[in-house]
Amino acid sequence: MRFRSRRLPALALAGVLLLVLVGCSGGGGSGSKTVTLTLWSWLPNFQDEVTLFQKAHPNIKVRLVNAGQGTPQYTKLRTALKAGSGAPDVVQIEFQYLPTFSTPGYLVDLAQYGANDIKGQYADWTWSQVSQGGKVYAIPWDSGPMGLLYRKDILDRYKLQVPTTWQQFAEQARKLHQANPKLYLTDMPLNEPGMLIGLMWQAGARPFAVSGTNVTISMNSPAVIKVLDFWGGLIKEGVVASQPDFTNDWYAGLSKGTYASWVTAAWGPVFLQGQAANTSGKWRAAPMPQWSATDNASANWGGSTLAVTKQSKHPKEAAQLAMWLMNDQAPTKTYVTKQFLFPTQRPILDSDWFAEQPYAFYGGQKVNQVFIEASKHVATDFQWSPFQDYVFSQMTDLLGQASQGKLGFGDVPRKLQDNLVSYANSQGFKAAGA
């Protein structure tokens, strides 16, 4: 109701009080033999794997809570962490938000509980995302190395090739839209900063370098400018759509064939299968187009980890829970077979059963192979900022202005850079442009 949704600080306070109350009722029982842990995650049917853990560890009880997917959960988590109580022992955090929570010191260094012993079992880049030096702030769960899903039937009909470079991609986009003005080679959702950062990652951008409270920000680097110019140009030409993704119109565009391809991540193939069932058999997967024909670079978009919060009264057991769920053979296999997550664990990435699995939706193609290969070409030196919410919100705002013509796409990197540096400084970081 528009008269009533005021007084946000008051609401926030009420929320804090509530969480404090909730926090008081949970936990406890450190004297008794069994330990109760709270685990926050939004993965559907996660209880199956949690039950497996409890069977293997009768002295640890786990209370699984779905506190919202992504942002809503982070808001609750942050409130609880700030309030000093009410946070779970173990929590799902996406890769891009790890520094946001580890930099203020909210997460337990899992190295002291032997996390580094399992380091070798994860794809290199995933481990470098969860660790800093010898410190380990989370255990990788699933990931999203990027690739291209495309409609083979549409490309065939208009005699187009599967683009292997971005230059080719642009040419094919023009040809397709010229041949049929109702069709677009793809949709570039400017509201999806995670995907855009993935594209910048692939182009070689390293927007953030964090060391303690020193943050080096390079959001107006040539690689960032290259990516934004490329997509901004295609959007301006009108040969690529720019609808926001994961909206009804966008789903309709995918199932009706308005968009002939989707630049996406390894979790995309199964997701698409559920959203555009009527197009079964017409899709194929290909590696990401490259900036130069001799390159072979991918990037990551999405994926999660499990971390242990400093509020946990049983960090040892919490670490045990996180590591077992992320590393034991039984649960790590069911994430892939039941929940269709794309793994970070080498034993699965290297296994034949995973690589050889055919997908009827993709005309029997062994889609996983494309993304397993992509996972090997994700640069390991990419870092996220310690204030990723702000980065994403600024990107969406500025790109929104650019898409309305209030700002040139070419002006976005410089403005973004200025805003981020001044925000970082105002938040007490020592920020410098690069």
Binding site: S5, L8, P9, A10, F387, D389, T396
Partner: protein, 321 residues
Amino acid sequence: MRAGTDRAPTAAPAAGPRPAVGARAGLAPRRAGRRTAVPYLFLAPFLLLFCAFLVVPLAYALGISMFVERLIGGGTFVGARNYLHAFTDPSFLEAVRRMALFGVVQVPVMLGLALLLALLLDGGLAYARRLFRLTFFLPYAVPSVVAALMWGYVYSRDFGPLGQIAQWLGFGAPDFLGAKAMLGALGNVVTWEYTGYNMLILYAALQSVPPELYDAAAVDGASRWQVAWRIKVPLIAPALVLASVFSIIGTLQLFNEPYVMQPLTPMVIGSHYTPNLYAYTLAFTNQQYNYSAAVSFALGAVVFIASYLFLFVTDRRRRAR
């Protein structure tokens, strides 16, 4: 000193009309003490909740609005600096300007419609008056989040019914969620939601107009139009002013509708589309809780000034008549 002595004699007669109460109190002083305590006792549950959920949070918010807390390095007291920043913050000012534009168009349209409907119902022109009254009021009973979701579906370009009809007829699908139409589209949702509510306020006011006036007007040969324009509207002017003030406050605090529609059109509804949306983003995305509190209070000040100005202008005009 002289002032004090001057006042004394006037104070005495002022106390004059109350001897009865004073006398009774004098007879039973103990009971009087209890009697003054009793109302407060009855008020206590309300006062307690009022303090706990309004006064204390407001005071708390006012308090934190004068600090700056950093992600690194803790908090410092900055006094009014957050407020100075808010009133020169282009994002906040843009949001306020946008809502001002919204209000200047939407509020008169909505109240005009509400007045028209109220007059129609009151004039006995409509059949099945109760049914119509209920129907017009119904949108107000729909939670605004549900209303925004519903309209979001209606507006969506390829998926919504309007877009499909337009395409079927061979027109291009109208982009209601685009940058140009968005404010109007939101105005339509808000009008849909609140016209019935305002109609009810005006209709209730019309019910209290003494019927003799209509008889007198009929004797004088006034037309229905004249009765409506010369008698009904002037007599319900206070209700119209009240409805306008509520609408001005509501407009400046617009939040639910743009918040729900944001995922549908994130490029258009940015983080500071309305002042409240901006306060929300500041607190929960940017983690600038202190500044967010200051922006909330700054918005409160804007709301107060806008309402006061409106009342001032309408009051002067009424007196001028």
